[in-house]
Structure formats: C-alpha cells, structure tokens
C-alpha cells in the first residue's frame, strides 16, 4: 500500500471528482470532497516522511518501467510542494461549503466541487510526475478546471476574466507543449531523468535551446511573472473568493515549482548560460515586478484586486531568489513558496469572509470593520504583517533568507530594493488597516463571519505565526531541496 502512495496522491482527488458529480447534492459532495482532500494531505505527509527517510521515491505507472512507462518521482522538492498544495487545498475545502453559499447558485454547487477536485488533482499531478508529457496533461487538467472555476464568479466580468485567462493559459500551455515536442524529437525520451542525462551533451544544439526558451516563456506565463501577469488580477478579482484563495496559494506555487524543475533538474543550472543571461533576466523582471505591482496595488479600490497585485509582487520575490543563482537564493524562493501560500491563503480566505457578509471586497466595506468583524480583521492584520515581513511571522523568514542570499553575493542594491519593496507593502496594508480601524462604518448591521469560515482562516493565520517562530520544518525541507538541486546534498 505504502509503495503506491505517489500515484494515490493524484488518483484520490482525481477519482473524487466524478464521485462528487454522481452524488449530485451540494452537502454530500462537499463532505466527500473534504474527505478526499484530507486523505491527500495525509498521503503527502507520509510522502514527506518517506522521502526524508529513504530518499527519492520512484513509481512506475502500471508496472511499466521508465523509459517506456510513465514514472512518478517524488524527491524532497516535490514532496515539499505536494505538502503545501494538498494542505492548502484541504483547508480551503473545509471553508468552501460556507464560502460558496452566497457566491455560487445552489444547483451549480456539486459541479463546483467536481471542478475543485479536478483542479487539485491536476496540480498535484504536475508535481508528482517525473514525465514531462504527463506534466502537460496535468497542466491542462488543472487549467481547464481553473477556467471553469473562475467563470463561476457572480460578477458577469468573471466570464471575461476566465476567457482572458483561457487565452493566455492556452498560449502558455502550447508553448510548453512545443518545448516538450522539441525535446522529444531531439532526445527521444520524455522521462525527466533521462532528459537530464542526455541534455548536457546537446547544449549547443539550437533545438534544445529553442525548447528551453519555449518552456521558460510558457511556464512564466502560468506563474504570472511580470510582464506576463496581466491575466492574474482579473482572474483573482472576479473568481469566487474561495477559488481566489485556493489559486493564489497553490496554482502559482506549482508554476514556480515547474520553473525550478525545468531549470534546475531537467536542463541543469548552467544550461545555455553563455547565450542567455537567464538569471539576470529573472532578477530584473522580478525587481520590476515587485515595484510595479506593489505600486499598482496601492491604488486598487477592490481589496481582492489589491492582494492579486500583491501576489504578482510576491512572485517577483520568488523569481529574484532564483535569479540570485545560489543555493541560498533558491532556498529563499522555496521558503517563500511555503510562506506566501500561508499568508495569501489567510488573507484571501479572510476576504472570502468579508465577501460573504458584504457581497464584495470593495474597500468601502472595510470602514469600521475592526469593530464589526474583529476576528476577520485581526487575521488580515496578521497576514498583512507577514506580507510586510515583520519578525515573528513567516514573511520575515523568507525576507531574511532572500537578503542573506543577496548579501552572500555582495549585492547591496538588491538588498536595499528588497527592503524598499517591503515598505511598499507597508503602504497598502496600512491603507487597509486605516480604513478598518480608524474610519467609521455606515450603519449596516453586520456580524462576524460564521465559524465554519473563520476557523480555517484562523488556522492559516496561526500557521503564519507558528512557522515564523518554529521554522525547523520549512527551513529543513527547503534547505535540503535546494542543496539537492544544486547537486550538493541528498
């Protein structure tokens, strides 16, 4: 049984999706989906333990060994990301029942869970598989489910946002497919490890180089790297709040994982470095992304949009970490992957509570919210402090490692830029705090969000503090994973 864990990780949510369709009653579908997502958390926890104990796991699908069959390969990096995705997915699922009550019509709710489980399965599949074509398949599964999930938004503009994302996402996926095609024609294999063995010999081939470029651009579209981020704010703003929370905390993380996987494992860090200054490009785009997105975030009247732009900025930090090009920089990226999932998860889930009460996340609803929804607002403050990077929260840990990595290289301007970026975060968080605590609300009667929504949010907020103080788990995992990718350690 335990040896089948890698495939169970994907197959459980994948099979839960049609089961939810068959159940066809919102509540039953929700309970089933909850169970399935909790099981997948348990599986990913076990996987982390197994990988920690015995090293990377390899699983041949249907008993067909690689390179003929599809290989599922779980190393520390994928186990780490699986844990993040399934953990967040389960917490969001716990809150989903209440959160979608006001946002999705009841007859469409069972369908919502189907799409959610498909999306989760797709995301987990991308991370679990060791086969590059399988990555594309799961990417499409998760993307198609995501388009449909975004389109569930109550605002009619959700359709437009979903369509926009559909176009951009399809371009991204097509780029990735083209890249995969080139690689296959060049090397005759789709297995990532085989590719990693054969590619170094082909470094000077134009085909390999083209494949590399297509893959990088395609993945950067999916992870919304500035300036390819334009689909993201609309999609996050108009999707149902719980979908926003789920996507913000998982989908972009998986795309960053994919970037790291392609860049470090498949092609190798040094690939095409002489032709293409990829790290410098990442540094510049990351920095510009941090500043532009933060400045735009400051001006947003809709808080969901505000945090969507903030996400673009935070992705900038992750890309900067990769761009530094050292093990510490990569570790900072991996830590921020984990930490950003916690903070944005908490923030968007708290926004779901606001939307639940007010119908929208416009900033005018926040007037006096400190008194009306004290717990929700306290959670937003904790998430905000974490976003800024105050000690005692997870945000500080990732900033700390990022600055550490920059200092290892003696890149002082980068250090200053990162700290200035945090100050921009102070501005947009403060704007929210100011309205919520220092402005009187209009006389609408409004109560705290229901407990079923508040408890998962509070768990995430507490996780922000807990992992800001007890950093052993994420630091150990990210450190080992970064060492592994740089070929230093296990």
């Amino acid at each position: 049984m335990l040896s089948h864990l890698p495939i169970l990780q994907v197959i459980v949510p994948l099979l839960a999706a049609p089961a939810c369709l068959l159940l066809d009653r919102a509540r039953a579908a929700w309970l089933f989906a909850c169970m399935a997502s909790l099981v997948s958390v348990a599986i990913s926890g076990l996987l982390v333990f197994q990988v920690h104990q015995f090293g990377a796991l390899s699983y041949s699908l249907g008993g067909w060994d690689a390179p003929w069959g599809i290989e599922y390969r779980i190393d520390l990096l994928s186990a780490y990301v699986l844990l993040i995705v399934s953990g967040i997915g389960a917490l969001m699922m716990l809150a989903a029942n209440t959160a979608i009550r006001t946002e999705v019509p009841s007859e469409r709710q069972p369908l919502f869970y189907v799409l959610y489980m498909l999306c989760l399965a797709g995301l987990l599949g991308i991370v679990a598989t060791g086969d590059i074509f399988n990555v594309f398949v799961f990417l499409e599964i998760s993307s198609l489910a995501t388009y449909a999930l975004i389109a569930q938004g109550r605002d009619r503009r959700a359709l437009w946002a979903a369509y926009q994302y559909l176009i951009v996402g399809t371009i991204g996926a097509t780029f990735i497919l083209i890249g995969i095609g080139f690689l296959y024609s060049l090397t005759g294999t789709l297995n990532m490890q085989d590719l990693a063995n054969r590619l170094p010999a082909l470094e000077n081939s134009a085909t390999a180089f083209t494949a590399f470029a297509f893959l990088m651009v395609g993945v950067c579209l999916k992870l919304a790297l500035f300036p390819l981020h334009l689909w993201l704010p609309n999609a996050y703003a108009y999707a149902p709040s719980i979908v926003t929370a789920f996507l913000a905390a998982t989908a972009t993380k998986v795309a960053v994982y994919l970037l790291i996987r392609f860049h470090f494992s498949v092609f190798g860090v040094g690939f095409a470095a002489s032709v293409l200054p990829l790290h410098s490009i990442f540094l510049v785009l990351g920095l510009v992304g941090v500043f532009v997105a933060s400045l735009v975030a400051i001006q947003q009247p809709n808080v969901k949009r505000l945090f969507a732009y903030s996400s673009v900025a935070q992705i900038g930090y992750m890309i900067i970490g990769i761009g530094i090009g050292s093990a510490t920089g990569l570790q900072a990226t991996l830590l921020h992957l984990f930490n950003h999932a916690l903070m944005k998860g908490a923030l968007f889930l708290a926004l779901a509570a606001v939307v639940f009460r007010f119908g929208s996340a416009d900033i005018r609803h926040f007037a006096g919210l400190g008194q009306r929804m004290p717990w929700t607002m306290a959670i937003i403050v904790i998430g905000g402090l974490s976003l800024i990077g105050v000690p005692g929260t997870v945000g500080f840990i990732s900033k700390w490692y990022l600055v550490l990595a920059a200092l290892e290289r003696d890149w002082w301007p980068l250090v200053i830029a990162v700290l200035l970026g945090s100050l921009l975060a102070v501005i947009y968080i403060w704007r929210l705090v100011e309205v919520a605590y220092f402005r009187k609300g209009e006389d609408e009667v409004c109560r705290e969000a229901p407990l079923s929504l508040l408890i998962p949010t509070a768990i995430l907020a507490l996780a922000n503090i807990y992992f800001g103080i007890d950093t052993r788990l994420p630091v150990y995992l990210s450190d080992s994973a970064a060492q592994m990718l740089f070929g230093g350690g296990p």
Binding site: G389, V390, G392, L404, L419, V426, W430, T471
Partner: protein, 492 residues
C-alpha cells in the same frame, strides 16, 4: 528561587496577570487585587534578579537563557546586566504605584472598558520586561513591537474621533519607523557582524567602517521611534489623548524609556563606545539630539494644555539621555543612565499631578491653574519637587544626572553640549516655574463651580511616593552610580 528562574518568570508573571485580570473582569475589586498582586510579585522577582546581578561573579554571568531558536544563530534569549536591571526595576516598581493611582483615577472618572485597560496595561509591562531583559537585538525588537501594539488600545481608550486620530499617529509613526528603519538596521547589523547579541565592547568593531557605520547609527536613532527624536517625535504629544495613568507610566516611563534604553543598548553593546568614537561624523547624532532638546523645549513653552506641555518636555528630556549616551565619555554615560531613573520618577509625578488636578477640578489648561496650590497643596507640592528635578535643581534627582552630563561634556570639551544643556535648563525653568508661580502666588480668578480639595486618596498617595523617590534619587545616587559603573566595564 534561583535568579535565572526569576528572570524567566518576569515575563510569565505579567502575562498570566493579564489573563487573570481578563477573567476577573466582572468583579472590579478582585480584578484590581489581581493587578496589584501581579505588580507586587513582578517587582519581587525583579529584586531577586537584581540581587544576583548585584552580587556579581558567576551568578551574574549565568543570568542568560536561550528560550527558542528561530533560525540558526537567531535566538529568543534573555539576560540581565546592570543597565537592563535598572530599566526593569524602574518599570516594575512604578507599575505598583501607577496601579494604585489608576484605581483611583479610573473609578473617580467612571471610565468605560476598565478591564481592557488593565489587561493591556499588564501586556505592556510584559513587553517592557522583555525589552529590558532581551539578550539580543532580535528579542528586543519583538518585545518592542509588543509594547507598541499593546499600548495602542490604551491610547485609543476614549474611543472618540480625537482619541482615534491620536492613536493613529501613535501607531503609524512607531510602526513605520520600526519596520522601515529599525528592522533593516538590525538585519544589516546581523549580516556584517554575524550575531545580534549584546556584548560588552560591541559587535560591530572591525565589521563595518566608514560612512556605512554613520548611516547605520542614524538608522537606529530614527528607527527607534520610541526615543522621540525630532522629526519622529510627533507620536508622543498625539498619545496624550490617553487616560492619564497611561501617559504617566507608559509615556513617561515604560514606552519612552524603552526607546532610550534601546538606543543606550545599541550604542554600548552593539557599536561599543570605543568603536563609535572612530565612526566618521558620529557627531551628527549629537547635533540631532541637541537640536531636539532645544526645539522641544521651545515647543513646550508654547503649549497651553498641561499634558501636551509635559509631552514636549518628555521629548526634550529623552534627548538629554540620547545626547549623553552619544557624548561617549564614561561620566556622560553615567549621566544618561541616572537620568533614565531621575526623569522617570519626576515625570511620572508630574503626570500624576496633572491627572489629579483633572479628576479633582476637571482642569486641563495651564491658565486655569491660578491659586490651585491652596486647594491641592500636596499635589502641587509634589509637582513643584518634580518640576525642580526637570530643571535640575538640588536636592532632586535631575541635579545628579545633569551634573554627570556636564562633567562628561567637559571630558571632551564639547561646547555644543554645554551650551545645549545650559540653554535648555533655562527653557525648562521658563515653562515650569510660571506654573508653580500661578499655583501659589495668584488668586483664583473664577471660583470653580464645585468646591474641591485633593483628588481621591490612592492618587494622592501615589503622588507622594513618586515625589519622595525623586528626592531619594538625589540622596542615594552614590550606590546607584557605583552599581551602574559596571555597564562601562569598571569593576566594582
């Protein structure tokens, strides 16, 4: 009980106290009993730690405990040395007095949300203890922010628009300076020195040089907004919307002293006096402090509201401490440390008196004080003693600290410092003496609607105690100075 246990309990006790106070909210008498006994217990614990530091030797050296490791090399750790024990003694000792005072004040004024008030107060003391006993800059920073956040509800206590606006300035400036400057300065320190521990002689020597060290020093000075250097001083007058006991303990003692205490710690244990002398242009910092002293005194002169005047006087007096710390001679350091105590007891007396006047007569403006010395002789007597200490007249504590500051300035022949000290003494006299004159030598222009005498007994008692302490600092300065010499590495 071992001193090490006592050291750890100084953090546990106020926090448990806060919890108990919250639970006893429904029974005011029980709640106040909890506050008082927590304060008493805390003071006892601090005395225990003090005893160990006083005896010195191995016992004092063992007063170090690592509570938690956040990242490799970054710990939450506590320790105790003469400077921190002094701050802890002042804050915890005056907490007892202030608790007695606030019981009188809050009840006489029939304030709302008293439970929240006492809970936040206890949490603020927890923050102050953490600041005092922090063994490294990170721990200090965490408790510094606890202090900021826990005092915010106290400043906004009244809940009206004015209180909220004041609280906004308060929180905004303190958070922005600490996150924008203090935190980056701390990270910078770690990355050049590889540690954040407070060590005798500093940790920066040889790790940073030239103009970088100057910038770092300025980042610390303005980043530690609680020290209220101009232009980051505006939160202090804004915080005067708080109830008077808050202004008294927190904004004359715990919060502001946490600020100057942090600056002293940074200068002595992070930079190190010997290293800082060699930092280019470090004298800029002295000029900033001197400028703050003079300008804040002039601003105090222009105030008509008693509490606001006291606030500006605090801004100016805090910069005395910063200035003396930065003069970097042994005598001036002693002056700074003594002034932490002398100013604390005197300023708390002044605020207590202002609160007593408000409770007894509802008067808040200086020009209403004509003849009040006859109605409230004890309060105004205490006020006069404290005001003399502010000016630096013997036999009050303010004289001792000013003596050492001037002596320290002579050690390096800094005429700038001497001029600033003389000028501000004159200005202090110019805004304190007229009040005493009004109170005793002018007739009441209009009789108050209701004849009144002194404020309720707990308040008057508290005022007498702190006024007495102001005098005691003068008479007992010998042991105090001898004890604090250890900060400078002088063996006792």
């Amino acid at each position: 009980m071992t001193a090490l246990l006592a050291l750890q309990l100084t953090l546990v006790v106020p926090l448990c106290g806060a919890l108990l106070i919250a639970l006893c909210g429904r029974w005011p008498n029980l709640r106040e009993a909890v506050t008082l006994s927590t304060a008493g217990l805390l003071f006892y614990l601090v005395i225990q730690v003090f005893g160990a530091v006083e005896r010195g030797g191995d016992e004092a050296a063992a007063l170090y405990v690592e509570l938690w490791q956040i990242l490799p090399g970054l710990h939450i750790a506590l320790h105790s040395e003469p400077l921190s024990i002094l701050f802890a003694l002042v804050a915890s000792g005056l907490w007892i007095v202030t608790s007695v005072y606030s019981i009188g004040y809050m009840r006489a004024n029939q304030e709302k949300r008293q439970t929240q008030f006492y809970v936040c107060f206890a949490v603020a003391i927890f923050g102050a203890m953490g600041v005092a006993f922090a063994a490294n800059l990170l721990t200090l920073f965490l408790f510094y922010e606890v202090l900021t956040l826990s005092t915010y509800p106290l400043v906004a206590h009244k809940g009206d628009d004015k209180a909220r606006a004041g609280a906004r300035t308060y929180l905004g400036i303190l958070l922005a300076t600490s996150i924008g400057l203090f935190l980056p300065a701390m990270m910078w320190t770690y990355f050049v020195a590889g540690t954040l521990d407070f060590r005798p002689g500093g940790i920066l020597e040889g790790n940073i040089g030239g103009i970088g060290a100057t910038i770092l020093l300025l980042m610390f000075m303005f980043g530690i907004g609680k020290a209220a250097l101009i232009p980051v001083h505006r939160w202090l007058p804004a915080a005067m919307v708080a109830p008077t006991p808050v202004s008294a303990l927190l904004h004359a003692v715990a919060v502001v002293k946490a600020g100057v205490f942090t600056i002293a710690k940074v200068v002595i244990y992070i930079f190190g006096l010997d290293f800082l002398v060699d930092v280019p242009h470090e004298v800029i910092a002295v000029y900033i402090a001197g400028f703050t002293i003079v300008v804040a005194s002039i601003l105090a002169l222009r105030q008509t509201n008693i509490k606001r005047m006291l606030a500006y006087s605090t801004v100016s007096q805090l910069s005395y401490i910063v200035l003396a710390v930065l003069v970097l001679t042994p005598l001036s350091e002693i002056g700074a440390i003594v002034h932490i105590v002398a100013h604390a007891v005197a300023k708390i007396t002044l605020f207590f008196a202002a609160g007593a006047i408000y409770i007894a007569s509802k008067k808040t403006e200086i020009n209403q004080l004509d003849g009040i010395g006859f109605r409230m002789p004890i309060t105004m007597g205490a006020f006069a003693i404290a005001a003399l200490s502010m000016i630096g007249v013997p036999p009050t504590g303010g004289f001792v600290s000013k003596w050492y500051m001037i002596a320290g300035a002579f050690q390096i022949d800094s005429y700038f410092v001497l001029i600033v000290l003389t000028l501000s003494t004159g200005l202090n006299a110019a805004y304190f003496l007229p009040i005493i004159f009004r109170a005793y030598f002018r007739k009441e222009s209009v009789a108050p609607p209701k004849s009144h005498g002194e404020a309720p007994l707990p308040m008057v008692g508290a005022i007498c105690v702190t006024a007495l302490l102001t005098l005691l600092v003068f008479f007992l300065n010998g042991p105090l100075v001898a004890f604090e010499m250890a900060v400078l590495g002088v063996p006792r």
